[in-house]
Symmetry: C2
Amino acid sequence: MMLSRASKYAILSTLYLAEHASENRKISVKVIAESIDVPSPFLAKLFQQLVKGKIISSTKGPNGGFYLTKKNQKKNVLDIIENIDGLNRINECFLGLSECDGTNPCPVHFIVEPFKNSILGKFRDKNIMEFSQEIVSKGRKLTIKDISTEINS
Amino acid sequence: MMLSRASKYAILSTLYLAEHASENRKISVKVIAESIDVPSPFLAKLFQQLVKGKIISSTKGPNGGFYLTKKNQKKNVLDIIENIDGLNRINECFLGLSECDGTNPCPVHFIVEPFKNSILGKFRDKNIMEFSQEIVSKGRKLTIKDISTEINS
DNA sequence: ATATATTAAGACCTTTTTATCTTTTATATA
DNA sequence: TATATAAAAGATAAAAAGGTCTTAATATAT
Ligand code: FES
Ligand code: FES
């Protein structure tokens, strides 16, 4: 019931592409990595894999970068997770039992299951573009920078 | 928003102690490790730490082992998590933002938050003994062995 | 007292995950 | 066609998590 850091980065940066990139406004790894505050060589690797998985697209050279085609836009967040982590990890039992399943429920299964269904639904029922539009209109964040408005010495 | 394997083991085995051990029925690491199907040297380490944290108790020597005192029984599951993982990990943003917080919500924050509150409540509002009694009466499992009733060649 | 069973302590190893670096390849455009 | 730019590929490194092993300490029962 948990995402790797890798798939978190992949989700956030794909949503960033959905919002900011297009076929004639491709964006480089470096820019994205800075925007959503993730390590850029690591993100580059993830993007290679997402391109192979046909979740996102890329072109090399000047003005090259990453973007989403119409087809890419039809993918959903669960496709990203599947591409990076596979589906096992997110389906695991919250307490680590070998199966997560209502017939042999762990002590928190019936609290976890509704949440799991609801978040998997969220990740499956809208495509990337719809998901992105929703989060933009609702003002959801893909990064939090400058939390540090704190007392410095 | 996730537990390490270590704290999962710790939770399951402490609940096992609550159910099966007592001051005059102490249980060895080896027996517990086999019962809930976790690696025993690893569990031994975790138990050392839980003893230091006064979550569980132990005595050495023949008929020694681990058990819960009255005081131990008053601890809750969140105390176990805090002792092994600290509290940061379970409070992290589901998508990895640097803060999980309603004023800067990630795209799934408002799905995650109610679940987080509910599971943290579950882990905090009953002590170990009460929690254990509840899961026993409801038939919740601490392990699933022998899932393999499958077709073998 | 002695033998034995069991935890405590700490060093060590392995695997997985995360992150970086270097070289090659493709592409746009000057 | 040369040059610059950006991704692809793949080797490598660092860190974290998970797991094991050996020796020491200690409590119990005989
Ligand atoms: S979450 Fe534990 S069995 Fe489903
Ligand atoms: S879960 Fe992402 S901000 Fe709360």
